[in-house]
């Protein structure tokens, strides 16, 4: 271990290692609390609404689920980005990263199960959900089944992660990536859907959106946090992946956001963009994505060649914006369209 660390001196101190994940978490929580406050369900006479514990608890737990999932995806993609040609330098990094992936997968599974509890509570205002109510909910509502599936995938990811801790890179990186992405698939099911022939294309567009965002964000955080010493080799690889993700995320986001609005009664475009909560959140996400483009491009075209420390600063900016976008993303799944 010591000889290996000598080959790749760890420049990142614990504080700088917490910087990017911290910024991402804070950004996401901030955005989700603000967005949820602005889009809170309005009081309706004679109808009980859930209390603040559920009103804020549910979106916060959902954001934590997203953060954990992003961490798992990012840490699973990392070995592919590091490459397998120079195990002397990459093994010490991976040895640190593998247990973290397992921890994040456990956190993912737990937050997914907690989300089911909160979603049940949201539908039965004033009552503390019992096991029977939760079972009923999962039995009858697709969003509950989706979360259950996500939790199962997270547990499988934890299992495979444990095997990777034990057996190292003999456990194929692709397998870890596929399982993590599998767990993301049910997440769009908990959001909006439309009743139209475009239902399936829109769902797939949302799936691509969720997966692209997780790979991009998770990959960036993982690379900038754990692969600092190897940036000259790793950053170009990541940059190619990030470009694909950026295109994928923006295109699929526009298609699913605008498509969902156009196909929902009351969501007539373009007016609904500014009059409905959903539309305003779509606009917010477009703005955030637009803000990401120059930052990402600057990192890719300017800094990559010169290998300056300012990469860290720009990456911090990028990650913060991504965090905000993730927070808004959770609010958008719950905002009203019509």
């Amino acid at each position: 271990m010591t000889t290996l660390t000598a080959a790749a001196p760890p420049r990142a101190t614990p504080t700088t290692r917490l910087l990017l994940p911290g910024l991402f978490t804070v950004g996401a929580l901030l955005a989700v609390v603000i967005a949820s406050t602005l889009t809170a369900e309005e009081a309706v006479p004679g109808i009980p609404l859930p209390g603040p514990a559920v009103e804020y608890g549910l979106p916060i737990v959902r954001v934590l689920l997203d953060l954990a999932a992003v961490a798992v995806v990012g840490l699973s993609v990392l070995p592919k980005l590091l490459g397998f040609d120079t195990p002397d330098t990459t093994e010490p990094i991976m040895r640190r990263v593998r247990p973290l992936a397992v921890t994040a997968a456990w956190a993912w599974a737990i937050t997914a199960l907690l989300t089911i509890v909160f979603q049940t509570a949201e539908l039965s205002p004033g009552a503390i959900p019992t096991l029977g109510m939760i079972a009923d909910y999962v039995d009858s509502v697709g969003a509950g089944q989706g979360m259950l599936f996500s939790a199962a995938c997270a547990l499988v990811a934890a299992g495979i992660g444990l095997m990777a801790v034990r057996f190292g890179e003999k456990v194929p990186a692709e397998l870890r990536i596929v399982v993590a992405l599998f767990g993301l698939l049910p997440i769009p099911v908990t959001g909006h859907a439309v009743d139209s022939v475009w239902h399936d294309p829109l769902m797939i567009s949302m799936e691509l959106h969720v997966m692209g965002a997780a790979v991009w964000t998770g990959g960036l955080i993982a690379v900038m946090t754990y692969a600092r010493p190897l940036l000259p080799e790793v950053l170009p690889r990541f940059s190619r992946l990030a470009t694909v993700c950026l295109l994928l995320v923006s295109a699929s986001g526009l298609v699913s956001g605008l498509g969902t609005m156009a196909l929902t009664p009351g969501g007539e475009l373009p007016g609904a963009l500014l009059t409905t909560e959903y539309g305003l959140l779509v606009v917010t996400k477009v703005v955030l994505t637009a803000a990401l483009v120059p930052v990402a491009a600057y990192i890719r075209f300017r800094l990559m060649r010169q290998q300056k420390t300012s990469v860290a600063v720009w990456a911090a900016a990028e990650v913060s914006i991504m965090g905000l976008a993730y927070g808004v993303a959770v609010a958008i799944t719950r905002a009203s369209i019509g």
């Binding site: 697709g142 495979i160 057996f167 596929v178 909006h192 399936d200």
Partner: protein, 232 residues
């Protein structure tokens, strides 16, 4: 990188396969009876809300709130595909009535809102115990029955709880709405819904299948990598 893209494609294909039928949509109110903003001479005996797609049974709440926060819904909401209706006791004083709803959209999250209508002439419920010729602008004092907080199971027509009329008219109505809606079991509806979204049994089946595939993949991958090592 190419392998990674292949992996992404496989995941997408799986997404397609995993997706249930196109039975889910975001439900939006498209109409109601009485319509929003309607002015009625006669009190309706039932209020119906119409959504763009079939609403989930079992989680719908509808309530009718009259002037002064009095509650008039009789029993709990009944879901029939796109239509959610609730019986209304004979309305009382003239004035503005609000139909509040919170339903479970077929794509899985609650949708709430309200529809307002105005009763221009006092309904039969107003004549009951207290003040017969109530003025149209009747305030809570004119509302006859104390609003029952629970849902009366077999509510008689007319005023269900005359004894409550005396002392506690005003304050009570605002306190608590009717209890949670437990829709009368409409078995065919539930069966159709279960068929549309699979039910928990299907979810367990999917999870089990996925676990098997993953376990097999792990075994194959591990065996291959150890074999590769032996050869090396």
């Amino acid at each position: 990188m190419r392998r990674l893209l292949t992996v992404l494609l496989v995941a997408c294909a799986a997404a397609w396969a995993l997706m249930p039928g196109a039975a889910w949509a975001h439900d939006v109110l498209v109409g109601s009876d009485p319509a929003d903003g309607a002015r009625l001479d006669a009190a309706p005996s039932e209020v119906t809300l119409v959504f763009n797609t079939a609403v989930r049974t079992g989680y719908a709440h509808v309530n009718v709130t009259g002037p002064g926060g009095t509650s008039w819904a009789d029993g709990s909401a009944v879901v029939r595909k796109e239509r959610v209706s609730v019986k209304v006791r004979p309305l009382g004083a003239a004035g503005e009535y609000v139909v509040g709803y919170r339903i479970l959209s077929s794509d899985g999250h609650p949708v709430s809102g309200k529809v307002t209508f105005t009763l221009t002439r006092p309904g039969p419920g107003a004549e009951a115990p207290a003040t017969p010729g109530a003025t149209p602008a009747a305030t809570p004092t004119a509302t006859p029955t104390g609003t029952p907080t629970g849902t009366p199971t077999a509510a008689p027509t007319g005023t269900p709880v005359p004894s409550a009329a005396g002392g506690d008219q005003a304050g009570q109505g605002a306190v608590s709405p009717t209890g949670p809606a437990s829709t009368a079991p409409d078995l065919s509806m539930q069966a159709a819904e279960a068929a549309a979204n699979g039910g928990a049994g299907m979810a367990v089946l999917w999870i089990g299948g996925a676990l098997l595939v993953l376990a097999a993949g792990t075994v194959v991958a591990l065996r291959r990598s150890t074999r590769g090592e032996d050869r090396a």
